[in-house]
Subunit: 286 residues, 2 copies
């Protein structure tokens, strides 16, 4: 039977009691509007842990002033039914005034992996993400937390913060779940009209094109241009299309022909009508 907990101290006590009883606790932080991608994170957590907690919190500080915080889809009842069906015991659904108490003046800033891409297009976004994730990890001091690879850069930012602050939690990154045609699952897909939904597939197609060219030996700059071509041909406004180092998100260094295989990630972000979508693919070492 799933229970909803709104109080951070009681939530923390629940986790600590489980751990004191020798149980391993997994944690899946979400903004709700849950779909099969979230459910796959929960399934992964349930496979590795004795108890699974999910947080549902639409975090205001990671939205820019002109972004979709107000209209971001909220569906707590349906979310809880889905979570219960996947065996979740506890949903942590705090009020914003509890996560950000009166007079709140503290932010966590991560440079490095947060600098480019989403960090450039959405100033303050990762500051909001890092702050809320730290706050959530202190309320839900689980053994391990699960994140989706769809937010590739976010996983790097959270890893960096956890390492730097010494937060006592392990991180697991699970594969992106996709619709049958390849579109990455996202709560924001609900914004798309049927016509936009068809065009949105160009994000996936640009990543497939990137992988083909990568394996054919093309340079990052050529691949990036080809990705942009795929996107703009479908009327998508490109925020970025990049092939970069998968850990630092910096430009690829010149390949040493005698060195190890070259690794990269292709990142893409664009707007389909009023809806902003992102996706990525780890490219096979070449």
């Amino acid at each position: 039977m799933l229970e909803i907990e709104r109080d951070p101290k009681r939530m923390r006590a629940w986790v600590l009691a489980a751990q004191a009883a020798g149980r391993r606790v997994g944690f899946v932080p979400t903004m709700g509007s849950l779909h099969a991608g979230h459910a796959s994170l929960v399934d992964c957590a349930a496979h590795e842990c004795d108890d699974v907690a999910v947080s549902i919190f639409v975090n205001p500080t990671q939205f820019g002033p002109h972004e979709d915080f107000e209209r971001y889809p909220r569906s707590l009842d349906a979310d809880c039914r889905l979570m219960e069906a996947h065996g979740v015991g506890k949903v942590f659904a705090p009020e914003a005034s509890v996560i950000y108490p009166p007079g709140d003046a503290t932010r966590i800033v991560v440079c490095g992996p947060a600098r480019r891409f989403e960090g450039e297009v959405r100033p303050g976004h990762f500051e909001g993400v890092a702050t809320v994730v730290c706050r959530l990890f202190l309320s839900v001091p689980a053994d391990v937390a699960y994140f989706g690879a769809k937010d590739w850069q976010q996983t790097l930012v959270v890893k960096r913060m956890v390492c730097d602050l010494g937060l006592p939690i392990d991180l697991v990154v699970c594969p992106t779940l996709r619709e049958p045609d390849g579109l990455a699952m996202s709560s924001r897909n609900a914004y798309l009209s049927p016509e936009e939904r068809a065009r949105a597939l160009a994000l996936f197609e640009s990543l497939t094109r990137a992988e083909q060219l990568w394996l054919a030996g093309d340079a990052a700059s050529g691949i990036e241009q080809a990705m942009r071509d795929v996107l703009t041909a479908r009327g998508i406004t490109v925020d970025y299309a990049a092939v970069v180092d998968p850990l630092t998100l910096e430009p690829l260094s010149l390949k040493d022909p005698h060195g190890p295989k070259e690794k990269a990630v292709a990142l893409v972000a664009g707007r389909v009508g009023a809806t902003r979508l992102i996706d990525n693919r780890e490219l096979p070492p070449r």
Copy 2:
């Protein structure tokens, strides 16, 4: 028998084991060069807790580029002898490369109480303080941490961060310890020549003058000028001399004659020769 621990994970395990055995753990974070002021924090912790841990870490990120990080006094052996004499069981003395791991890119920024005074004179100082205190609280997850009132603004910044992030630790602020003539104890007093040591007493005298004028009904601006006069008469370069709200450090609001008594704190910072000193006094409600 006092033990020195350099590893955050083992330090954390020691605290958790004590707590699991039902023991209350107190924590005194320091930069070493310990004096009777630190010992009084330890005594307070020992009175309220079953075990006391002290950290000794000269935190590079809270020093500005032209400040005294390099020459800050370091005396680990003498520090440990003093701590052992006061019943401390564990000293946490990590290397900087452990507190700030390779690639470190995370900082905690506190606005509000960190904005003025030390925050203005020492840009980045409180960012360094907040970051290291959070990191230390995660390595030493004690029940309660003890800070000295001498760093009044620091206690407000740490309180703000602990509240905002939901760090599970209580804070206790202990009174400033003073030399017989009134000079606040500080590791930096060791920098003073005998002549500077005599002039440094002007900080204490400026606070005594502030209290007299406060109780006589003077306005903050007049008291501040009188404090500056006491300091400059002894050749002290004033960074600030202020009478402000004790919790927000904002200017006092106009007193409501029918309202509660007026509270304030007097803050002072100045340079005696090359040595920068700070002090403060909570003024009696009037």
